[in-house]
C-alpha cells in the first residue's frame, strides 16, 4: 500500500493537478485577503467606493481641453480630456519621430563618414539619457530660455514662439470646406489605386510606375482644385499681439511642446536603429544579385532591399510607437494635462478613490497596448514570407 501511495504522488499528471490546485487555492486566498483588507480600509478611512464618482462634478479646471470642459464637467469628462490629450500628443509624436528616425536612420547608413558618425552620436546620446530627464530639460531649460511675449521670435509674422508657447495660424473652414477634405480623401483613395496598379504592372509586365511622385501630385493637386472649385472656403486666423498676449490662431503650450519634442527626439534614436538594423539585415547577396541583374542602385534599393528591410524594421518600430504612447504618461512631471496627470493625478487627489482610478487608467493603457499588438500581429501575418 505504501509503495502504491508514493507512486500515486510521483505520477506526473497527478502532480500537475496538485500543483495547480495549490496555486489556485493560494491565489484565491491572496485575493480574498487583499479584498477583505481593502474593504475594511476603505470603510475605516471613509473613502467612497464604486464608479459613482465618474458622474460627480470634477471641481477643477484644465488648461488644455480639446473637447468641451467647464466647471460643471464631471470626472468622466476629465478622463475623456486626459485620454484625448494623450492621443493628441502621441499622434504628433509618432509622426515627428517617424520623420526624424527615418532621416537619422538613413544618415547612419550613409557612406559619408561625417554624416554616419553624426547620426550615431545622436543615437548614442539620446538613447542613454532617461526620457524623464529629457522632458524636464526641454521644459525647464530649452523652452524656459524662450523670450518674453513682447520679444517673441517670429517667423514670417505668422508663427511666434515665446515663453508661453508656440502660436501658429489656425485654419478656418467656411461652408464648402468639406470639399477640401473630400479632395484629401480622394487623393488617399487615388494613391491606393495607383499603388495597386503599379504593383500589378510590375508583376505582369516588369515595368515600373512612379508611385511616389504621382501620389504626391494627387495630394497636392486634388485639395487645391477642390479649394478653387468650392470658392476658396478656407482662410487662416493669424495670431497677433494684442495687449499682453497673442490673440487668435492656435496656441501650443510649452508643456505640450516639451513633451512632444522630448518624446520625438528620444524615440527617433530607437526608430533610427530599427531602420538601420532592418536594412543591414538584408543579405549582401541580394544587393549583389540586384547589381548583377543590371539594376541601378536606386532600383536595387527600391525593388530588392527595402521590401525585405521593411519586414524586419516595422515590428520594432511599432513597438517604439507603443513605448512613445506609454512614455507620454511622464507628462505628469511637467503638468501637460494628459490621462495620468489629470485623471490619475488631480481627480485622484480630489476624490480619493485610488483603487478605481488607477484601475481605469491601467485598463485604458492596456487597451491601447492590445490594439497596437493586434495591429502588429496583423502586419506580421501579412508580411510573413509565403512559402510554397
Amino acid at each position: 500500500m505504501e509503495g502504491r501511495h508514493v507512486s500515486f504522488l510521483r505520477n506526473e499528471k497527478v502532480r500537475g493537478i496538485l500543483y495547480q490546485v495549490i496555486t489556485i487555492v493560494l491565489f484565491v486566498l491572496f485575493i480574498g485577503y487583499i479584498a477583505q483588507n481593502t474593504a475594511h480600509n476603505i470603510e475605516a478611512r471613509g473613502i467612497k467606493s464604486g464608479l459613482g464618482f465618474l458622474h460627480t462634478t470634477a471641481g477643477f479646471d484644465i488648461t488644455e481641453t480639446p473637447i468641451h470642459f467647464d466647471h460643471n464637467s464631471t470626472n468622466w469628462d476629465v478622463f475623456k480630456v486626459g485620454l484625448f490629450n494623450t492621443l493628441i500628443v502621441s499622434f504628433w509624436g509618432i509622426i515627428l519621430t517617424s520623420l526624424l528616425g527615418l532621416i537619422i536612420g538613413i544618415a547612419r547608413l550613409s557612406k559619408n563618414w561625417i554624416i554616419s558618425h553624426l547620426a550615431s552620436t545622436y543615437i548614442e546620446i539620446f538613447r542613454n539619457i532617461p526620457i524623464l530627464l529629457q522632458i524636464l530639460f526641454w521644459y525647464n531649460v530649452v523652452l524656459a530660455a524662450m523670450p518674453s511675449v513682447r520679444q517673441s521670435y517670429s517667423f514670417f509674422d505668422s508663427i511666434f514662439i515665446n515663453q508661453r508657447g508656440l502660436f501658429v495660424p489656425k485654419p478656418i473652414f467656411e461652408s464648402g470646406g468639406w470639399m477640401i477634405a473630400a479632395g484629401f480623401v480622394a487623393a488617399l483613395v487615388g494613391g491606393w489605386l495607383i499603388h495597386r496598379y503599379a504593383k500589378k504592372r510590375l508583376e505582369e509586365e516588369g515595368k515600373e510606375f512612379p508611385v511616389f511622385l504621382s501620389t504626391l501630385a494627387l495630394f497636392l493637386l486634388l485639395p487645391l482644385v477642390a479649394y478653387f472649385i468650392a470658392g476658396k472656403p478656407l482662410h487662416f486666423d493669424y495670431p497677433a499681439l494684442k495687449g499682453f498676449n497673442f490673440r487668435g490662431g492656435s496656441t501650443l503650450s510649452p508643456e505640450f511642446l516639451a513633451l512632444l519634442f522630448a518624446l520625438a527626439t528620444y524615440t527617433a534614436a530607437y526608430v533610427a536603429e530599427a531602420i538601420r538594423s532592418g536594412i543591414e539585415a538584408v543579405n549582401k547577396g541580394q544587393k549583389e544579385a540586384a547589381t548583377a541583374l543590371g539594376l541601378t542602385p536606386m532600383q536595387s534599393l527600391k525593388l530588392v532591399v527595402l521590401p525585405q528591410a521593411v519586414r524586419i524594421s516595422i515590428p520594432p518600430i511599432i513597438n517604439q510607437y507603443l513605448n512613445l504612447i506609454k512614455n507620454s504618461s511622464l507628462a505628469a512631471a511637467i503638468g501637460y494635462p494628459e490621462l495620468v496627470t489629470v485623471f490619475a493625478g488631480t481627480s485622484l487627489n480630489v476624490t480619493g478613490q485610488a483603487l478605481e482610478i488607477i484601475g481605469i487608467t491601467m485598463l485604458t493603457y492596456l487597451t491601447i497596448s492590445l490594439i497596437v499588438s493586434l495591429i502588429l500581429n496583423w502586419f506580421n501575418k501579412k508580411m510573413k514570407i509565403k512559402e510554397r
Partner: protein, 363 residues
C-alpha cells in the same frame, strides 16, 4: 641573354592612397556626397563652438558662490558646491563613510560578478548578500551605527540602491514567471501570461502610483511601508515581467533535444531545469537581460514623481536653493552625463558579452 630586372610595382597615385583617397572616397565621392559633407560641416560649425564655449572656455571652475560665475558659460562651481547633495541626498555628513563603503562594496561586487573567473556559487552568494549588507550599512540601527531613515537617502546613492535592489529582487520572480509561461500546466501558464502581459501593457508610472496610493489599502491597518519600499515594490513588479520575457527568449532558444535528454536521464522537472535547461537559457538571455537592466536604471528616475529624491530630482532641489537660482541647466547637464556614463558602460559591456557568448555557441 637578356637580363630582366624585377620591376617594383608603382605606388598607387596620390589620389588613391592615404588621407587624400580616404577623403575622396568617404566625403567627396559624388556631388550629393559633397553637398552632405558641407551640410554636416555646417551643422558642426553651428553646434560645436557655442557648446565648447559654454562647457569649457567661458565656464567658471573656481569660486564659492553664484557671484563668482559670469561670462555666459556654465557655472561648474554650482556642481562642486552641491556635489554632496547630488551624490548622497540628505545623508548626514558625519555618516558619509557608510554610504561610501556601501557604494564601494557594490562596485566591487559588480566587478566580481562581471568577471568570468569568479565561480558561479560566489556570484550567487554576492548577489544575494549585497542588498542586505549594503542596505544594513546604509540604514544602520545596530552595532552602534545610528539609524538613518530612508527619507534621508538621496541622489546617486538612492538611484543605485533602487536599481540594484530592483535588479536582484526582480530576477527570481521573473525566472518563475518565465518557467510558468512555458509550463504545460494550463492554470499556471494562464496566470503567468496574464501577469506578464498586464504589466507590459501599462506605463511604469501607473504602477508606481498604484504602489504608492493603492498598495497601503491592500494590507491590514497598521502595516505601513515607507515611500522607498513602495517604490521598490512597484519597480520590482514591473521589472519582473520584462525579466520573464528575456528569460523566455532564452528558454525558446534551447532545442527540444535538451529537454528530452533531461527527461531521458530521469531528472525531475526542477532538476532538469536547474542542471540542463536554465544554465543554457540564461546564457542566451544575458545580453537582453543587461539591456533591460539598463532600461531599469533609466526608469529609476521616475520615482521623483512619487516624491523620492533620486539623482534626477536633486537637480530641482539644488537649483531651488535661493543662493543658486537659475542653475538648473548645469544640474541637468551634470546629471545627464552621469546617467550617460553608467548606461554607455553597461551597453558596451553587454555588446562585448554578446559577441563572446555568440562565438561560444558556434563551437
Amino acid at each position: 641573354m637578356a637580363v630582366y630586372e624585377l620591376k617594383h610595382a608603382k605606388q598607387a597615385p596620390l589620389s588613391e592612397r592615404g588621407i587624400i583617397a580616404w577623403i575622396r572616397h568617404h566625403l567627396l565621392s559624388s556631388p550629393v556626397n559633397i553637398f552632405f559633407t558641407i551640410l554636416s560641416l555646417w551643422i558642426l560649425y553651428i553646434l560645436i563652438p557655442p557648446l565648447l564655449k559654454w562647457f569649457i572656455l567661458d565656464a567658471n571652475f573656481s569660486g564659492q558662490s553664484k557671484a563668482d560665475c559670469g561670462g555666459g558659460g556654465a557655472c561648474w562651481v554650482f556642481i562642486r558646491e552641491k556635489l554632496k547633495l547630488f551624490v548622497y541626498g540628505f545623508y548626514p555628513s558625519s555618516e558619509l563613510w557608510r554610504a561610501n563603503l556601501a557604494i564601494g562594496l557594490s562596485a566591487l561586487s559588480v566587478v566580481l560578478v562581471a568577471l568570468e573567473r569568479t565561480s558561479r556559487k560566489l556570484k550567487i552568494a554576492i548577489i544575494l548578500l549585497l542588498p542586505f549588507v549594503a542596505g544594513g550599512l546604509l540604514s544602520g540601527g545596530f552595532f552602534g551605527l545610528i539609524h538613518i531613515d530612508t527619507s534621508q537617502w538621496g541622489g546617486l546613492l538612492l538611484t543605485l540602491v533602487i536599481a540594484l535592489i530592483g535588479i536582484v529582487a526582480s530576477f527570481p520572480i521573473g525566472l518563475l514567471l518565465a518557467l510558468g509561461r512555458q509550463s504545460k500546466l494550463p492554470i499556471i501558464k494562464t496566470l503567468s501570461v496574464f501577469y506578464i502581459e498586464l504589466i507590459r501593457g501599462v506605463p511604469l508610472i501607473t504602477l508606481l502610483f498604484m504602489a504608492s496610493v493603492v498598495l497601503p489599502l491592500f494590507f491590514p491597518e497598521g502595516v505601513d511601508f515607507n515611500k522607498l519600499i513602495r517604490a521598490l515594490i512597484g519597480i520590482t513588479l514591473f521589472q519582473a515581467a520584462y525579466v520573464a520575457e528575456n528569460i523566455r527568449g532564452g528558454l525558446q532558444a534551447i532545442s527540444t533535444g535538451q529537454y528530452e535528454a533531461g527527461s531521458a536521464l530521469g531528472l525531475t522537472y526542477w532538476k532538469q531545469m536547474r542542471l540542463v535547461i536554465l544554465p543554457q537559457a540564461i546564457k542566451v538571455a544575458i545580453p537582453n537581460l543587461v539591456g533591460s537592466f539598463i532600461a531599469l536604471l533609466m526608469d529609476t528616475s521616475l520615482v521623483m514623481i512619487i516624491g523620492l529624491y533620486d539623482l534626477l530630482s536633486t537637480v530641482n532641489l539644488a537649483s531651488s536653493d535661493r543662493d543658486w537660482l537659475g542653475m538648473s541647466t548645469e544640474g541637468f547637464v551634470f546629471v545627464a552625463i552621469i546617467y550617460w556614463i553608467l548606461n554607455f558602460t553597461m551597453s558596451r559591456y553587454s555588446k562585448r558579452l554578446e559577441k563572446k557568448l555568440d562565438t561560444n555557441n558556434r563551437d
